[in-house]
């Protein structure tokens, strides 16, 4: 299977070079020259749904192309993008220093941004927190709502499990060097976090913008509500990049697809899927 994929990729690259060296991207914009073949995209389950929609749109424009998108998590995404196991890796957090050291060749393409909202159970009468208060709440320093202007009510922290990309990004953006409170209720998916937060009195959690609904209440951070507009304006601080990882400059289908994603057409899809465009 891998050999077949590699062969196909090689053929595609060769074909692209034969026609117009170094301008494979032009074919991606629906040029009649037409590119054919198959690439694999592996990694973050947060990026996966977006990547699937973007792959489908690209396949419609280029009928000879197949893009296979599969999950595995951000760490797997960086690894398989860097070592060539997959043509492109997906990663829903910043690439770590250690990962750059391990594979200095990798290129990071930010294709969208995703906001992370701080949410509380709807009966909690707190409407805003500072970033510092968020850090102290999630690290277990502040344990009662009356310490942040609410009623005397214990704070119940709800979090994702260790290794989740959403948690990784949240820790990096909000916790910094502090550690997540040990007593936090851990749920293994965004949906379960939302259900737990919405039904547990005094609960606080963090959710990807895509998972927000009326069952939980969002709170402003440093005075800014978690909206795409506020992220774009630079006032809402908690958001993370959704990245595509390649081993060096991508060519062939991979390059054409990434170019498509960053085009106006691709970014319109990003917005339609409730993520934030790069520009």
């Amino acid at each position: 299977m891998m050999r077949k994929l590699a062969l196909l990729a090689a053929l595609v690259v060769a074909a692209g070079c034969g026609q117009q060296p170094g301008t494979a991207g032009e074919a991606g914009n629906g040029a009649p020259a037409g590119i054919r073949g198959e690439i694999s995209v592996v990694g973050s389950t947060t990026v996966q749904p977006l990547a699937e929609v973007l792959a489908e749109a690209f396949e419609t424009l280029n009928p000879g192309v197949t893009i296979i998108v599969s999950g595995g998590g951000s760490s797997v995404g960086v690894k398989s993008g860097a070592d060539g196991t997959a043509h492109i890796g997906m990663c829903s957090r910043h690439v770590k220093e250690s990962e750059f050291q391990e594979s200095p060749n990798i290129m990071v393409h930010t294709v969208a941004n995703d906001g992370i909202a701080i949410v509380v159970e709807p009966s909690v009468p707190v409407d805003g927190l500072t970033l510092l208060q968020c850090r102290d709440i999630f690290s277990g320093v502040i344990t009662n709502w009356n310490e942040v202007g609410g009623p005397a009510m214990p704070i119940i922290v709800v979090s994702r499990e260790e290794g989740s990309g959403t948690r990784g990004a949240f820790e990096e953006l909000v916790l910094g060097d502090a550690l997540m409170a040990e007593s936090a209720i851990l749920q293994p998916s965004n949906g379960a976090v939302r259900t737990t937060c919405s039904t547990t009195p005094g609960a606080v959690a963090y959710l990807s913008f895509g998972y927000l609904d009326s069952s939980v209440k969002t709170v402003a951070v440093d005075g800014a509500l978690p909206t795409p507009e506020n992220v774009a304006a630079g006032t809402y601080p908690v958001y993370r990049p959704l990245n595509m990882i390649t081993d060096g400059q991508p060519g062939g289908i991979a390059g054409a697809w990434l170019e498509f994603i960053l085009s106006d057409e691709g970014q319109a899809i990003v917005v339609a899927e409730h993520y934030l465009p790069v520009n």
């Binding site: 797997v76 851990l186 293994p188 737990t196 547990t200």
Partner: protein, 305 residues
């Protein structure tokens, strides 16, 4: 019978014997394969962290290279204990009722219902626990009690192990010769005295096997536990002065640890999760061996004849 047909019979005999042996050995082979594979994957963790520090450390923070699973061992142990405390009396009562007390038509309604419990997928138990039992347990007015925790998990688990224990116990009770019971009645004992003093002791090895089967099921249950136990990696401890309030504490089970984190784990973290699996494997082996010893001892003690 001609010698020819006798030879044919012998051939059938030996072929059948070989087939049965293959069937029996294949289960041994599968256990060995799984054991060896899990152990192989766990070796980097045992080398990099050390089995002793894994077993005795309470802190599990893969991001900070802390891989202690003592809190999870305690979590698995306590939730299993809780489920046995709630589930075994229920299951025994149910089995005694079905085997000795119930009129046939009632037994014919109750037995299929109990068996149906065994067919419900564990994720449905988990969901029920999450939306019904968690809010109910949250009603216990104790500071720090959020509903997610050992008590809720034990309750869910008790119902899940009930059908196994009840049906094996019922079979054991039914296999006690009727003459024991009749003899006891003839000597002037009441029905309850006969059940308690004659039938239950005579069936005790079967009852012990039933409880062991339930124990194994409880230790291995995963999805339903993840949904109601809170999954916090903390050493369960009493949250009030009442020691029983330890069951209101959140916890994480060994199985839950693997299932919650395996999706994203790489490197040493992944290996540590396999090591968690090895510990679970050993724990279940210890439980089974101890139980087999108990059963043997109780059979050697035998029924007073």
């Amino acid at each position: 019978m001609t010698p020819d047909s006798a030879r044919g019979k012998n051939r059938v005999e030996s072929v059948m014997r070989a087939l049965l042996m293959v069937a029996a050995l294949s289960s041994v082979a599968i256990v060995l394969l799984i054991g060896v594979f899990t152990l192989k994957e766990a070796i980097p963790a045992f080398q990099g962290i050390g089995p002793l520090s894994m077993l005795t450390e309470k802190v599990w923070r893969p991001g900070q290279e802390s891989f202690g699973i003592l809190a999870m061992i305690a979590g698995s142990g306590l939730v299993t204990l809780g489920s046995i405390l709630i589930g075994v009396p229920l299951a025994l009562g149910c089995a005694v009722f079905l085997a000795e007390v119930a009129p046939r038509w009632i037994a014919n309604i109750v037995r299929p219902s109990v068996e149906l419990l065994a067919g419900i997928p564990s994720v449905v138990y988990g969901l029920f626990g999450m939306v019904v039992l968690v809010p109910a347990v949250r009603g216990i007015d104790v500071p720090g009690n959020v509903g997610f925790g050992l008590l809720t998990a034990s309750m869910v688990l008790a119902v899940m192990i009930l059908p196994t224990i009840a049906s094996v116990t019922e079979t054991a009770l039914r296999s006690v010769p009727r003459s024991y019971y009749n003899g006891s009645l003839a000597l002037g004992a009441t029905r309850w005295e006969s059940i308690r003093r004659v039938n239950i002791p005579a069936a005790r090895s079967g009852i012990l096997s039933a409880v062991v089967l339930g124990l194994g099921r409880a230790l291995g249950e995963t999805i339903a536990m993840i949904m109601v136990i809170g999954n916090s990696v903390i050493m369960p401890k009493a949250i009030t002065s009442n020691p029983l309030s330890i069951f209101l504490s959140r916890a994480r089970t060994l199985t839950g640890n693997i299932a919650v984190e395996i999706n994203y784990a790489t490197g040493l973290h992944e290996s540590a999760l396999f090591a968690t699996g090895v510990v679970l494997f050993l724990l279940i082996m210890i439980v089974n061996t101890t139980a087999r010893g108990l059963i043997k001892a109780s059979m050697a003690g035998g029924v007073a004849r």
